[in-house]
Symmetry: C2
Subunit: 108 residues, 2 copies
């Protein structure tokens, strides 16, 4: 439960930053090298590497070094954490609505 | 497109804060008054009202004043924005995987 909480905190913190979201948007087109990922971003390579580290620690991105090139790709784990959190909020809320609906039907 | 971008930015910024996520978690159990929402949070009522304003502007929460009590509830619009953004990231990425799979089958 605590591990899950830490993970939720990490992932939402990671995605709260517009540069990191732009990196995720680029990566959703397919895996790219760190330098290609950095190119349209107008920030230093060092800053890109720092952002990537945060995305990796949140389970949103995976990087792999083959030869001299480090390739980045989206990892499903982090996306799943957000999806679950959102659907939990929505389903509790919708369950409430359903119960209210039944209550109204029963008192008609 | 630009409106959608602003909305995505707003919603992720709103959910990037742990206090606002705690408020969403409480609200997913059902609508509550502002004072009840504030009680377990250990911050001032003024801070809660500020957080609520950010959640309202993002389409994550709706508040309504009846008599002297302001009631807060989750709004689906903001949750939908996150769900769509996540599923777009995932689906592009999965489409890539599918294409890679087909490629491997065709070259066997």
């Amino acid at each position: 439960m605590l591990t899950q909480r830490i993970h939720v905190d990490r992932v939402f913190h990671a995605l709260g930053d517009p540069t990191r979201r732009a990196m995720m948007e680029k990566l959703s087109e397919g895996p790219v090298s760190v330098s290609k990922l950095a190119k349209p971003l107008d920030i230093t390579l060092a800053a890109v590497v720092q952002h990537l580290q945060i995305l990796e620690e949140s389970g949103l991105v995976r990087t792999e070094k083959v030869g001299r090139v480090r390739t980045c790709r989206i990892e499903a784990k982090g996306l799943g954490v957000v999806e679950r959190w959102i659907s939990e909020r929505r389903s509790d809320w919708e369950k409430r609505f359903d119960r209210l609906g039944q209550l109204l039907v029963n008192t008609e």
